[in-house]
Point group: C2
Chain length 248, copies 2
């Protein structure tokens, strides 16, 4: 019994932000943590494809480490967990109970639009030590890579998933000075016109797969054809001053 | 003449985000870049005090490196540069002309509310190679350190300097789901009441000097006395669902 108590205390769950994709944008803390892992979990929302987060982490992992590529369905309801979520929780808790250090990988930052947030909520009252290590977000990487400031002075920045209703976006565009628009894909034509109406089209940069060999960059979003938007993109934009006066 | 041309090509200016304050949240790329620097600039807005960014960077710098602690006044006008800004530009350009690698340090991320943005704008057409290395922002560090998600699902996040007009803040609070409120200090009593009216007071975390020995954390902002807000703080908050319905 005493040994079980000791193990319970020793089990550690650590969420690690591995940054936006460039392996050199890992933090020293992430590297040290990866080296201490007994188990590394690479979450995915579907079964196919390689995990980018895992390929970034791998060079820093021990040879004996257990690698688990678990599928976490996007939909998460705290009250009624799906079978997949329950199964994943059992897998993680079994390792924690055995006193292992379990690392959960996240692209970008773990507390910023990620699956990790739900896993964290699920485990935070489990009695095990939980730690989270922040990472460089994709929008910060795009800004630095392309020399485009995100926000300066007393400007207000809104970070918006392009999947929200057009009416809600309308109100946000009216009050914001700077914009990070994420998950841009469908309805691009409507979206770009909405941005233009609020003065965000003149100074907008649209990027997908930043830093990858297949990176796509558009400096004039009004010239992008909807059929060219084949992959989730991010737009960094600032309101031009004349339009700001008009809509604010 | 030929030698001068070679030097001009070789001069490099690199903005490096050193992260939020924890020396372990430096990226591998920042570490490698610091090791290659001939000159390291630690900017400051006033003459007194030690540079936190410099103390984070120092262990990774070469022994022969030139360290410049330059004062950059907060106010920056592209058309009419102050004497201090002109003097700093001359200092930097002299080193670039000599073919040196000049690293400019920034706490957090270089493209996110920083002095670096203005220095970058000043030098970007100078003909020298300019590179920027992103970093972990303070608000991401606070979120991970305290186990508070920043933004999830389809929520809209607004990042707001507390120094903006109350009327503008009013409109932003009405349309946002999540909030990062920066530079919180003066008029705290008005501010906390405004947050409460929009349903942001129930789930709010207020932190100053995150990760430092003198860190201050408040989990109930309605109980904070204005006289306790002695240092610039950050508030992470989410709108409670009932209030969201009322104000949206």
């Amino acid at each position: 019994l005493q040994e079980e108590d000791t193990n319970l205390a020793a089990g550690r769950f650590i969420g690690v932000g591995v940054g936006p994709g460039d392996p050199e944008l890992l933090t020293l803390k992430a590297v040290r943590t990866l080296a201490s892992a007994d188990v590394v979990i690479a979450p995915r929302t579907e079964k196919r494809g390689d995990s980018i987060a895992l390929s970034i982490a791998k060079p820093h992992m021990n040879t004996g480490v257990e690698i688990l590529e678990l599928v976490f369905p996007m939909v998460y309801h705290p009250g009624e967990l799906s079978d997949a979520w329950e199964a994943n929780r059992s897998i993680i808790e079994a390792r924690l109970k055995a006193g292992q250090t379990v690392v959960f990988l996240t692209l970008g930052d773990p507390m910023f639009y990620s699956t990790y947030i739900y896993v964290f909520e699920l485990l935070k009252n489990s009695g095990y030590t939980i730690e989270t290590i922040p990472g460089v977000t994709a929008f910060c990487a795009i800004a630095s890579h392309h020399g485009v400031p995100i926000v300066e002075g007393d400007d207000v920045l809104s970070v918006v998933p392009a999947t929200i209703r057009a009416e809600k976006l309308e109100r946000i565009l009216a009050v914001s000075d700077r914009l990070v628009l994420m998950k841009v894909s469908r309805n691009f034509s409507d979206l770009s016109q909405q941005l233009q109406r609020h003065g965000f089209a003149e100074n907008a940069l649209m990027v997908s797969k930043c830093g990858h060999p297949e990176e796509m960059v558009h400096e004039d979003i009004m010239k992008v054809k909807p059929e060219d938007v084949t992959y989730l993109s991010t737009i960094l934009a600032r309101k031009s001053k004349t339009s700001s006066a008009a809509s604010a």
